[in-house]
Amino acid sequence: MNDLILSLHRLIDMGMTMAEELGTPEIILAAVFYVFAGISVLGALGVVLGRNIVHSALCLTASFIGIGCLYIFLSADFLGAVQFLVYGGAVAILIVMAIMLTRREDMAHSNPSRSIPHQLAALVVAGMFLLAMAAVALMSPFQTAPADIGDTVTGIADLMLTKYVLPFEIVAVLLLIAMIGAIILAKGVDES
């Protein structure tokens, strides 16, 4: 018992010295990052492991909102707002509407998974992908130098209407085509 308390004390002392070395803002930044990263990862796990598809949709929305908070953490405040509006709002509502329109049996088992061998194979594939990506992310010698880029809304607007004006127009046309296509697909063409 005494050993346990002693080791706990040692752990707390170690944490305090580390906090002094890092400075308090660093600790707060780390805490904010881990909270929102945890929300996104737990939400994603809820999507994959949930048995009820409405719960999965709710977890997906939580994951989107956690990711939007991380965008704001990365000083991309405009992208954060877009994430909340488009993913947290529009896409989430669209998915729930689609769930409502394509269901007739009970919701409790509405999100079935494949058999256990399938799941094991998928786990191996996803795990190998994760290992490869983690190795690349941790071993690449990236030159990091966070630059203060300034107001993101002005910067994005300037780029969008000068350097990237052609992709911007193409995306506008794409969204129009997608909207008309979705209406025609869902409603059907009037044959008469």
Binding site: M18, E21, L22, L29, A30, F33, V41, A44, V47, V48, I53, A57, L60, S63, F64, I67, L74, S75, A76, L79, V86, Y87, V91, L94, I95, M97, A98, L101, T102, S110, N111, P112, S113, R114, H118, Q119, A122, V125, A126, G127, F129, L130, M133, A137, F142, Q143, T144, A145, P146, A147, T152, I156, K163, Y164, P167, A178, G181, A182, L185, A186
Partner: protein, 114 residues
């Protein structure tokens, strides 16, 4: 081998690798769901997760690399627009498939199989 204190030090100093790892984890979870889910809407949800993971990479690189403008954020914005178009078409297709075949199970939708 690095010590525990050094590891905690690295873990608490949030930087580019943290975001790359988070993005890899989200992408892997989406990939797992893509292979294991049976419902067409659940598959679409997993694709959305993977697209979001990629957007995190764009924005993290734009923030942490010595960038001169906001091209990375703009690419993420284009990616969000394309993803919105994709989810609208995908869900309209899911609705249509349910309307015509009375199922959203991807295993039953094998009419093109020879």
């Amino acid at each position: 081998m690095i010590s525990f204190v050094e590891m905690m030090h690295l873990a608490l100093h949030v930087g580019l690798p943290h975001f790359l790892l988070l993005s890899a984890v989200l992408f892997a979870i989406g990939l797992f769901g893509l292979f294991t889910k049976k419902g067409i809407i659940a598959v679409l949800m997993c694709i959305e997760l993977m697209l979001n993971a990629v957007n995190i990479n764009f924005i993290a690189f734009n923030h942490y690399m010595p960038a001169t403008d906001l091209s990375g954020q703009l690419m993420a914005l284009f990616s969000i627009a394309v993803a919105a178009a994709e989810v609208a078409i995908g869900l309209a297709l899911a609705f249509r498939i349910y309307h015509d075949h009375h199922t959203v199970n991807v295993d039953d939708l094998n009419h093109l199989k020879g």
